[in-house]
């Protein structure tokens, strides 16, 4: 039992995660004809519940499953006001960016590049540049 417990706690290597996500994206496209997207499913207030809403619920449940398998589940509270502000600010920027680019880094990047559409590459390059500025802002204001 001890061995099993240790095994269930052990993280998988990153490369395995990357390859598996690539494979499941292909599986989604071939099984339901639609690739993996996230943003669309979050906007269920506007556009109603779609299969992507179900998929997002699946992700939350899957993550909960993995956390429980590793016996690591605990509800974590919010620390302070600073955390509230950064969470809201980050969220608003992601929401606006995803609206402009019609997708987040799944729909406009991880599923767009394999679709051979140039917009996926542009999204990737500029999100990478934005991340650089984001790190600078965190070092300057949050730390």
């Amino acid at each position: 039992m001890k061995g099993l417990r240790k095994y269930l706690k052990k993280p998988w290597p990153y490369w395995l995660g990357g390859v598996l996500l690539g494979l499941i994206n292909v599986a989604l496209l071939s099984l339901i004809g639609m690739p993996w997207k996230v943003t669309q499913g979050l906007l269920f207030l506007e556009s109603g519940i779609s299969n992507y809403t179900i998929l997002n619920i699946g992700i939350i449940v899957g993550s909960l499953v993995a956390t429980l398998l590793a016996s690591e589940f605990k509800i974590k509270k919010i620390k302070d006001r600073k955390q509230v502000i950064t969470a809201l600010a980050g969220g608003i920027m992601m929401g606006y960016g995803a609206k402009l680019a019609s997708g987040c880094n799944i729909g406009a990047f991880f599923s767009a590049i394999p679709s051979f559409s140039l917009h996926g590459w542009f999204f990737g390059i500029f999100a990478f540049l934005g991340a650089g500025l984001g790190v600078k802002l965190i070092v300057r204001f949050v730390l």
Binding site: P11, A27, I54, A66, F73, G95, G97, S117, G130, A131
Partner: protein, 217 residues
């Protein structure tokens, strides 16, 4: 006092530490519940059924591999490490080949980009500005949209606020700056495009590795 400093501290710490409760049982119950719901949905709601189980698998993969898209974009700046970024590139290579094969079997109708299996969208200023703002946002929020779903499952309540922020941000009106669709197979044969893109991604992988080594020294 050399090698066992940390061990000593850990030993002292562990003496008054209780082993946490085993939660495995709840996890197994949850997996079977989801599978049962998926089977019930299978006949009448095939797409929902697949989406639910695929979502669960994605959630498990994300949590177990600690793969985080925000980290893929961020780590090269913070520590110079590119292992997460390279994992994402590997995923892109796998799906480029997979999507490519699916698109090869699809009979294209010229100019009808909605019917192409995958996501083909116009590229323009919208994607450039949107991508840039998104990139800043995901670093500040501590995770991209996928990461936040994963972290809600892990029990982080702060990410509920990020979702509220996301919905607020998404309701800000945007001007019209749609560009033009650029779909590579319009210019070259799809087979050639697949091969070129895989080679290009392999080069990027290699560059990331070189960058990491260079930063290390």
């Amino acid at each position: 006092m050399d090698f066992d400093d940390i061990d000593k501290l850990i030993k002292e710490r562990q003496e008054n530490l209780q082993e946490s409760r085993f939660q495995l049982g709840y996890g197994i119950i949850l997996v079977f519940t989801v599978l049962l719901v998926s089977i019930l949905l299978w006949e009448d709601y095939y797409i929902y059924s697949i989406s639910l189980s695929a979502g669960m698998v994605i959630g498990i993969i994300l949590r177990y591999s600690r793969l985080c898209f925000a980290s893929a974009f961020r780590e090269p700046y913070v520590t110079g490490n590119t292992s997460v970024m390279r994992a994402v590139i590997l995923g892109l290579i796998v799906s480029t080949i997979g999507f490519g094969i699916i698109q090869l079997r699809h009979n294209p109708i010229l100019g009808d980009y909605d019917k192409i299996p995958g996501i083909v969208m116009p590229v323009g200023l919208n994607v450039i500005i949107g991508g840039f703002i998104f990139g800043i946002g995901m670093v500040i929020a501590g995770g991209c949209v996928t990461g936040l779903l994963m972290r809600i499952g892990e029990g982080h309540s702060i990410f509920l606020l990020v979702i509220i922020g996301f919905l607020l941000g998404n309701s800000i009106p945007t001007g019209n700056m749609e560009g033009k669709v650029i779909y590579f197979p319009d210019y070259l044969d799809l087979e050639v495009v697949i091969i070129i893109q895989v080679i290009f991604l392999l080069i990027l992988y290699r560059l990331a590795l070189v960058y990491e080594k260079k930063k290390d020294n």
